[in-house]
């Protein structure tokens, strides 16, 4: 595999008691990117993450993480930080003690613990027992634990679960900062708007199959953009509709709006055509599909 890929899997498959959780997944994640890993519940995201971390063995296929085969996780896990399926710590220990257990186990310097607690906003609560933490605090501790090894690759499964909007913003900023410093981030989330904001690369799973991997902008460009136009006089809607159809575009009227499948560049042409026909437009808005819309369109398509 190429040195510029942090993750590369080919035909990765996992069967559980005759049930196929992951079906010949093939994708790659370039080094230094934030890669969103999305898919409906039960699509195989966590199974994939567990295989990448050596927790479960693939039934078939192969994979490499940081250039090393996933059959030898001991060769790369010292450079990988992970938060898998929510945080899991010892309730009777404090947040700081929990990090000390993991730092001792991994042979990482304990001097990082205080700094990491500050980074995730737990600087003043590190001495509290984990069992007294809120869900958001537990999540933050999980992220701190993932950062213990100064990772080259960070694998995060739903890192913003339980966080309030300010917390989500903080984590987003942190991930962007880490990515700028060269860390590859592989992050799964059901918050597609979050993923869209931070991910330059995407892997989309559905029913155990990879239905897309590549640049986020490439995916968003796949879905047709639309132009929404609203005439000042509602009676001009059908006339405007005819103009759009005559120009070769699909269009539909919804309420007092006309939605036209066309690039935003055609907006100027529409404005001109409307003016020539004596129609005054109150509003003309190009609409780019969001990741969420694209995701639902894709997953419905593949049903």
């Amino acid at each position: 595999m190429s040195q510029d890929q942090a993750i590369n899997v080919v035909g990765l498959t996992k069967d559980y008691n005759g049930l196929r959780a992951l079906d010949h997944a093939t994708f790659e994640v370039p080094v230094g990117t934030i890669c969103g890993f999305v898919g409906p519940n039960g699509s195989g995201k966590t199974t994939t993450i567990r295989m990448l971390l050596g927790l479960i063995e693939p039934s078939d296929g192969s994979g490499h993480v940081l250039g090393e085969p996933i059959s030898h996780p001991e060769r790369y896990l010292h450079s990988v930080g992970a938060l898998i399926e929510g945080p899991a710590f010892y309730p009777a220990l404090t947040g700081e003690e929990n990090l000390r257990v993991l730092a001792t186990l991994g042979g990482f310097p304990h001097s990082r613990i205080k700094m990491l607690l500050d980074v995730v906003g737990l600087g003043d609560r590190g001495g509290s027992k984990y069992k007294n933490y809120s869900l958001g605090m537990k999540q933050r501790l999980g992220i701190a634990a993932a950062l213990l090894p100064e990772p080259r690759l960070l694998v995060l499964d739903e890192p913003t679960n339980g966080l309030d909007p300010a917390g989500i913003q903080e984590i987003r900023d942190l991930l962007e900062k880490l990515a700028k410093s060269g860390v590859t981030i592989f992050v799964s989330s059901h918050l597609l708007s979050e993923i869209e904001m931070i991910s330059e690369y995407l892997v989309i799973l559905q029913k155990g199959k990879v239905i897309f991997f590549g640049k986020t902008e490439d995916l968003l460009h796949r879905t047709k953009p639309t132009i929404t136009a609203i005439p000042r006089d509602n009676n001009d809607l059908s006339k405007l509709y005819e103009l759009a159809v005559k120009a070769g575009h699909d269009a539909r009227i919804e309420g007092d709006e006309l939605h036209i499948d066309a690039d935003e560049e055609w907006g100027a042409e529409l404005n001109n055509l409307a003016f020539q026909s004596g129609i005054i437009l109150k509003q003309i808005t190009p609409v780019r599909p969001t990741l969420e819309e694209t995701f639902f369109a894709m997953t419905e398509e593949k049903e």
Binding site: L55, V80, E85, F89, A92, L102, T104, L105, G107
Partner: protein, 268 residues
Amino acid sequence: MIHVFRAEWRKLRRPTLFAGSLGAVIGVTGLVTSLLFLLIDSQSGNAERGERITREILELSSGLSIGFSNSAGLLGLVALCVFAAQTAQEYTYGTLRNLLVRQPRRIQLLIGKYLSMVTFALTTVVVSAITSISVAFALSGRAKVSTSAWTTSDARSALIHTFINVLISTIGYGTVGMILGLLLRSPISSISIGIGWLLVVESIIAIAWKPSSKWMPGQLLSIVSSGGTPIGMSDALSYSQALIRVSIYLIAASIFVGLLFRKRDVSN
């Protein structure tokens, strides 16, 4: 492996577990040894199973070790609970995945964890020995038991032998706990099944079919802890036979669960 050992000790030394276990060890060893002296003239007996240990026996050079030896069963149960809970809770808390990400060599993880718990068991045995000896000396005057033989080299030798036997037995019980923890992946199930089997099921089977006591792991560990002939088991196996049998059981079971742990998917 040293990292695993040290990381495990960070969990073992938490006050509720460490002080709680040692408190139980001190309390029950103190009680068992106290009863030996305080009920010395009682017709209903002053030891396990209503046995009577006379003043003459306690005055022997081996008399100093009797209270400690009689506490072995309790030490075994403490070890079983600690080993089982510390192993199975990694599954119930979901922390095993964190441990395996930081130490992917599974057998090393298991051995490091086991060795740390063995040293914990060693600590409980040392504390038990100190408690028992202290209580024995403190109550010997009141029970009119002469301690002159307790300070001889024979007494030291008997104490060392008892210590080694109790330690082996305690580690044996702990190993049973760890095996159950790995198999059942639940602290409550592991502890209840372990204690239920060793204390209840084995006793019932032994009553119904006496030769079974030569084959049951709990009975074999009792023979080891008492140095060969536990009180109330006059026709028991020899020490070496019991040690060999129980070692075979534990080594075979450990290899089995070790291989299982190495191959089993961690999906919780």
